[in-house]
Subunit: 344 residues, 2 copies
């Protein structure tokens, strides 16, 4: 079968690989019908070292179940399922807490032996991981349903762990697909003011449609000053950081209100950062977030997509066949595309 491998920064290729086979009784194998490229795929696209065997890419998928292991009970051959970017048993102590990305038997598809930008995918812990899409669901809803495997629910995770609530002033840093999703989730949670910090006009335009009330294109000290002015000198109750680079984090603590919360979902490309008296501590700011616990949210979000309450699939502005995925990476890296849907 064909699968996407990255061999070094900037070198993405579709190559022929062996089909996955069931490894454990809890596995399933799906034929991938929808996949996509994630903003976080651009991190290795910029920095991956020479990897002779290639790194398997992709962690978002919808597919049709083709085989199940002997102990799989809830997922059946023929089901169309959403597969989140991390697998989890959905029964361990951390899953029961809702922290499915820390599952004791879990893992992440990205870089795993089987990843989603491919014709077929091995899904470990299939009963815990895969969520069945009701039979007869319109094909036009699939892009929005695909966003429940990562991007929309990552934006949602930011807003939820940040504690966005009715009447809040929220700042979203980053106008990528996760940032725009965080805007949509914040509107859903009742935020009164949503300030989107981003400078790509086509993206911030969608941000306005998703619920942003203000756009701030400036960055750094000037961007912070503008947010402080918009908020009457007070800062934001919640800041959702959807970038992952240190300057975005610095903006976050610059605009957060005393007693407010910064929630990060952009995978941090740094380990150390300011957290002392001058940044977080002095104003009793809270720092939260992490890998989105997507699996814990899918059941609640799925009906919202089916009934049209949310349409997060609008973040896809291009569609390409799997064979042209290298072009999808290029388009997203150059900001010519917001997010590219892939049809294997």
């Amino acid at each position: 079968m064909r699968a996407t491998l990255m061999f070094t920064a900037g070198d993405v290729r579709v190559v022929e690989v062996p089909e996955p086979t069931l490894q454990r009784p809890t596995d399933a194998i799906i034929r991938v019908t929808y996949a996509c490229v994630c903003g976080s795929d651009l991190h290795p696209y910029h920095s991956l070292e020479e990897t002779p065997g290639g790194r398997r890419m992709g962690h978002e998928a919808i597919g049709v179940v083709e085989q199940v292991g002997s102990s799989v009970e809830h997922v059946r051959v023929g089901d169309t399922v959403i597969v989140p970017f991390a697998w989890s048993d959905n029964t361990c102590t951390f899953c029961r807490d809702g922290v499915t990305t820390s599952c004791l038997h879990g893992g992440f598809f990205d870089g795993a032996p089987s990843a989603t930008q491919a014709e077929k995918l091995l899904v470990p812990q299939a009963d815990g991981t895969a969520v069945v899409i009701p039979e007869g669901t319109e094909e036009s809803l699939m892009p929005s349903l695909l966003t429940l495997s990562d991007v929309y629910l990552t934006g949602y995770h930011a807003a939820r762990t940040g504690g966005v609530a009715t009447g809040h002033t929220v700042v979203v840093i980053g106008d990528g697909a996760v940032g725009l999703s965080a805007v949509l989730a914040s509107r859903l949670m009742g935020a009164a003011t949503i300030i989107l910090m981003g400078r790509h006009e086509d993206r911030t335009a969608l941000g306005r449609e998703f619920g942003a009330t203000h756009i701030v294109a400036e960055r750094g000290a000037e961007g912070i000053a503008q947010v402080i002015e918009i908020t009457g000198g007070e800062g934001a109750h919640v800041v959702l950081e959807a970038v992952g680079h240190l300057p975005a984090y610095e903006q976050a603590y610059g605009v957060v209100r005393p007693g407010g919360t910064i929630s990060r979902v952009g995978v941090p490309q740094y380990e150390e950062a300011p957290v002392g008296f001058r940044s977080l501590f002095g104003k009793n700011a809270t720092l939260t977030g992490g890998p989105a616990t997507v699996r814990a949210y899918i059941e609640a979000a799925l009906p919202q997509v089916l009934d049209g309450t949310i349409d997060p699939g609008r973040v896809f502005d291009r569609e390409l066949p799997l064979d042209e995925i290298a072009e999808a990476y290029r388009l997203m890296d150059s900001r010519e595309a917001l997010k590219v849907l892939i049809r294997p």
Copy 2:
């Protein structure tokens, strides 16, 4: 009058200074009847640079009101009041949110022109800052009431912002007076397991009386391993960091459970610290805390002291007159005393 000044690290003296006078219509002046030395006073005691004019010390006090400004309405001459370590108007937007340490008209006594380790104290924003102790309150309760100006409610702030709840496993890092207060507050909030990390046996003994179920004397990797073992490999729901040095913070993210919370109240003696995938982000850990918003908690805690629900004044193991305050600093710095009560 006599007041405590620090002139350089280790050099604390009681010297004669002018009595404070009312500066603004919102001020009051109190005669200090109880003060004390704080663990955070030991930071400048170790590191203060040569300060020829001296730095005024102390930020915890009970006193009797001697004068009030023309616009002071609620506090009256003759009242005995608790003065928190920060003053606040208690009416601004941040005070209404409960973040009294970020009051728009607020400030900190420590290092201010008038501080509490003295015979008299200028209290700015007296109506917002001072809380009246009911007339006729027994003198024996005054040490516990004095802890509401900082130490007990700082421990309480850690537990509250950390979200300690019934059944939780809580780790408290630091067996100083704030750490012990955090143990007491955690017990009050229903924590099932309270692991106190500290190695001074006289202090951890009081920690056990306050509610600690386990004591871990080891630090660093070994201390982390012990906590992980006690928690069945899972880590703690909430970690209360009451030290302020980087190794304590490193212990905190080492023992926090996925999805758990670290709450810091030890004033960080560092600005940068690990917050990336390997420390906080990967396990969706939350970092919260800051200067305790003591003023917001006093009304609720005062009756608990009066009716004997809590007895946080047990952290005072020595009492000295103001003139001997240099000895109080020495005793606390050498760990010969846990916390010293000062009678001006």
